[in-house]
């Protein structure tokens, strides 16, 4: 996301319409705040300043706000001292309560943008008027076949604003660009064939004129791929597979994995039984981050297909791992596989947050990933060297990560091969010690804020045949709560030492994303519908409200045209959280966005008007 959003930037991001908004443009064309900010440690703060072009300090134009994936906002009106005064300002229901709400609302200038789960509608909300009336809505009418091909609910994880376009993926394998000013479709590109079982659920990342998108379908025998499209035309520029020969994986002479077991020719073929890579998955359905200094994109690859590992002896590269690629041509720079020969569905797709941290007395440019497998990895993002790998939640499948090879040291009794027998109490369960729900990083505290999961499983691998359009899965499982009886925990984590600093246990899964602000307030939600504000330093809960459904979206914050700071989050349980739906008290689904502000910032009740959209 890097060109100025013509319509939005002109009318919304400037100081003319928004007196409270002050911004300056740095040499990259990105916009950073200068208004009343606490001085940030320069190195740590670098990533949070990597913004889409035209983004002001009060905007939130991509799901993670910045290219580094920090979900950190520089806004300071809401603080630890006043967060207890947060009140409901307005709500918006998108009418799609059948499926889970995993997306983050976006704000640019005077407008909020929301995309719904299937049928993937888009909405623009006018923030200048009381109650947030609709400016436009858009119905792309994707194919309903996609509903039954999505493993884990017909979700979408968000959109991106760039150059006056709202860009997102449809469940039926199309990437679409909509005019942010008018809601008219600009282009639609078919990326895959829905009848083969692949879907698209991830939020695109848009940078330097390119749209990065990947597929979903790790349970359907797909080949995972990440593609770059031209933001103006939707034309595909390159596509890199997560399996297959080096030519398909876009691995060439610039590829330098740190560890020797990932070096060699065509490992995406030779680490599999004959032809098994063709249905080996590695779908990048999570998050993409972007380092504009290195000009690299980072993204993880999904679980290995099928789950039954007995049918695919070998390391199964490059599934369940992470790639660093050149943003311009997609050629791989390095890779690392978190869970080689994955026997437990531990996808590698979680967000890779790009920060600079002092490791062993040296400032290192790292990426931090809280992996499904229960380990938090701090990895040198230039080389792929694993610097720190420690558990951030309860796990019992590996005794640690070998410091020399960076391979997991397996606990034999938790291996699921040979198949056809129940293996009891494997922790974490398939949905992981954390699923896709993104973490946040505060450059002020140096801590990561993570919604961790304490869930375990009994697992039985089963023989499976590939039949196109049906699951290529090969596993049966039941899930149960981990030690302590709390499914969820909101934790603050130090990625330098690999230690949890504090944690807030929750009875229900914590399956929302996290948000942290320069007011040192962190936000998260629970699957039973509690939305909480927390002191980012102490972990003290400052404020809680029960919303209409479980929260599996990621909260965001923005400055509205009235100059005040608002916090928005969707409540609509679904997705992987449904694995715990038999828990007593599990809420019904929902479809509502809730927007909060400090009580004294919320406008007084407007008089009724007969003029549509007017106060």
């Amino acid at each position: 996301m890097s060109v100025a959003i013509a319509a939005i930037a002109v009318c919304g991001c400037g100081t003319k319409d928004n007196p409270g908004r002050t911004a300056s443009t740095d040499t990259n064309g990105a916009t950073t705040s200068v208004a009343g900010e606490v001085a940030l440690p320069a190195m740590a703060a670098r990533g949070s300043a990597w913004l889409p072009p035209g983004a002001g300090d009060g905007d939130w134009m991509m799901p993670s706000r910045d290219y580094a994936g920090t979900r950190y906002s520089p806004l300071t009106e809401i603080t630890t001292a006043n967060a207890g005064q947060l009140q409901l300002a307005w709500t918006f229901a998108d009418g799609q309560s059948t499926y889970g709400h995993e997306m983050t609302p976006l704000v640019a200038g005077n407008t909020m943008y929301i995309v719904s789960p299937f049928p993937d509608k888009a909405f623009a909300i006018d923030l200048t008027k009381p109650g947030g009336p609709l400016k436009w809505s858009f119905s792309p009418n994707p194919s309903p076949i996609a509903i039954g091909k999505a493993c884990c609910d017909a979700v979408v994880r968000g959109a991106a604003l760039y150059d006056g376009k709202l860009i997102y993926n449809l469940l039926d394998d199309h990437t679409i660009a909509v005019d942010a000013a008018t809601g008219k479709e600009l282009w639609r590109t078919k990326m895959d064939n829905i009848e083969n079982g692949g879907t698209m659920t991830m939020a695109p990342l848009v940078a330097d004129g390119r749209v990065y998108v990947g597929n979903s379908g790790g349970e359907m025998g797909v080949k995972g791929w990440l593609a770059a499209l031209d933001v103006n035309t939707g034309k595909e520029l390159w596509r890199a597979y997560s399996v297959g020969p080096d030519s398909m994986a876009r691995i060439g002479s610039d590829f330098h994995p740190f560890y020797s077991w990932m070096r060699g020719k065509d490992l995406g073929v030779t680490t599999w039984p004959a032809n098994a890579w063709k249905h080996g998955a590695g779908a990048p359905w999570g998050w993409v981050t972007y380092d504009p200094d290195r000009h690299s994109v980072y993204y993880g690859t999904s679980n290995t297909g099928p789950w039954n590992a007995d049918q695919r002896p070998g390391l199964n590269l490059w599934t369940s791992g992470v790639f660093s690629r050149s943003a311009s041509d997609g050629m791989a720079q390095w890779a690392y596989v978190f869970t080689p020969h994955n026997e437990w569905d531990y996808d590698g797709v979680n967000e890779n947050i790009l920060v600079d941290l002092p490791v062993n007395g040296q400032t290192r440019k790292v990426m931090v990933q809280f992996n499904r497998n229960g380990f938090a990895y701090t990895i040198d993002r230039a080389t792929g060297e694993v610097l720190v790998a420690k558990p951030f939640a309860h796990e019992n499948w590996a005794s640690g990560i070998d410091p020399t090879t960076a391979m997991p040291v397996l606990v034999p009794e938790k291996e699921t091969v040979p198949v056809g027998r129940w293996v009891r109490d494997i922790c974490p369960a398939d949905i992981g010690a954390k699923d896709f729900q993104p973490s946040a990083f505060s450059p002020r505290t140096g801590l990561f804020y993570v919604t961790a999961q304490n869930i375990c499983m009994d697992y039985k691998g089963r023989e499976v045949s590939y039949i196109a359009g049906t699951p290529y899965w090969g596993a049966q499982m039941t899930r149960h709560v981990g030690p302590g009886g709390n499914y969820g925990e909101f934790i603050a984590f130090d990625a330098v030492t690999g230690r949890k600093v504090w944690g807030i246990p929750e009875a229900f899964l914590t399956y929302s994303g996290a948000l942290v602000t320069a007011g040192d307030v962190a936000f998260y939600g629970t699957v039973d519908g509690w939305f909480r504000a927390v002191d980012a330093r102490s972990g003290k809960v400052l404020w809680s409200r029960k919303l209409g459904s479980g929260i599996i979206s990621a909260p965001m914050t923005y400055r509205a045209p009235d100059g005040h700071q608002y916090v928005a989050v969707a409540a609509g349980v679904g997705g992987g959280a449904m694995t715990t739906s038999s828990q007593p008290g599990f809420p019904p689904r929902g479809d509502t966005y809730y927007v909060f502000a400090l009580g004294n910032a919320i406008p007084s009740t407007p008089a009724p008007s007969t003029k549509p959209g007017a106060p």
């Binding site: 309903p144 076949i145 091909k149 004959a274 063709k278 049918q311 045949s465 049906t470 290529y472």
Partner: protein, 198 residues
């Protein structure tokens, strides 16, 4: 049909699906997928005693506009209903054809709908369920009519019926009207017990 013959048909079918996939996905390179027992291929399709496809095509998914009713068609009985060996074979097929991966090994749903409750979007009588498997449905349920024989589909129907969610053929018309409660004031028949959780 003997059990061996059924298994042989299943093998043939799996191999066919495999070839079709090869053509569609990759354009070439068939034979890269390992299907258990792929080497023995015998094609036997015996439809003796089964309802004719033409009859099934008259079973409506929705209610009937205007005069008339479809009671006769919807009440086509399940040819293998209650047949223990057919139910067992249907259960094996349910796993082999990856039905279990979508609908759950316990049939209680997952990617696809729960098959043990009394909510049937496209009808829950044996004939309705047969048609759904044969024709596919628009929210991702594939059509199996070109892949599975009528005999196998009816055995899948028998298996699903045996798990408790299907409506008895004789009560199909009542079920279509939502009369799944314990008392029916318009007729003597009731669906007593069919709507309670298993």
């Amino acid at each position: 049909m003997t059990r061996a013959a059924v298994a042989a048909v299943a093998v043939l079918i799996a191999a066919t699906a495999c070839q079709r996939d090869s053509q569609q996905l990759r354009g070439a390179g068939a034979g890269d997928i390992s299907v258990p027992g792929q080497d023995s291929m015998v094609g036997v399709t015996d439809t003796t005693g089964l309802p004719a496809e033409g009859v099934l095509s008259h079973v409506a998914i929705g209610d009937i506009a205007g005069v008339g009713n479809n009671t006769l068609d919807a009440t086509i009985r399940s040819p293998f209903g209650g047949n223990a060996s057919a139910i067992r074979e249907g259960g094996e097929e349910f796993e082999k054809m990856n039905c279990a991966a979508c609908h759950g090994y316990d049939l209680k749903g997952g990617m696809g709908p729960n098959l043990t409750d009394t909510y049937w979007r496209y009808g829950g009588s044996p004939a309705d369920i047969y048609k759904t498997i044969f024709e596919g449905r628009p929210q991702g349920m594939p059509a199996w009519g070109r892949t599975l024989t009528p005999t196998l589909i009816w055995k899948l129907v028998a298996y699903i019926e045996a798990q408790g969610g299907a409506f008895p053929a004789a009560l199909a018309d009542r079920a279509r009207q939502g009369d799944v409660g314990d008392h029916d004031t318009t007729s003597g028949s009731t669906m007593k017990g069919r709507n309670s959780a298993p």
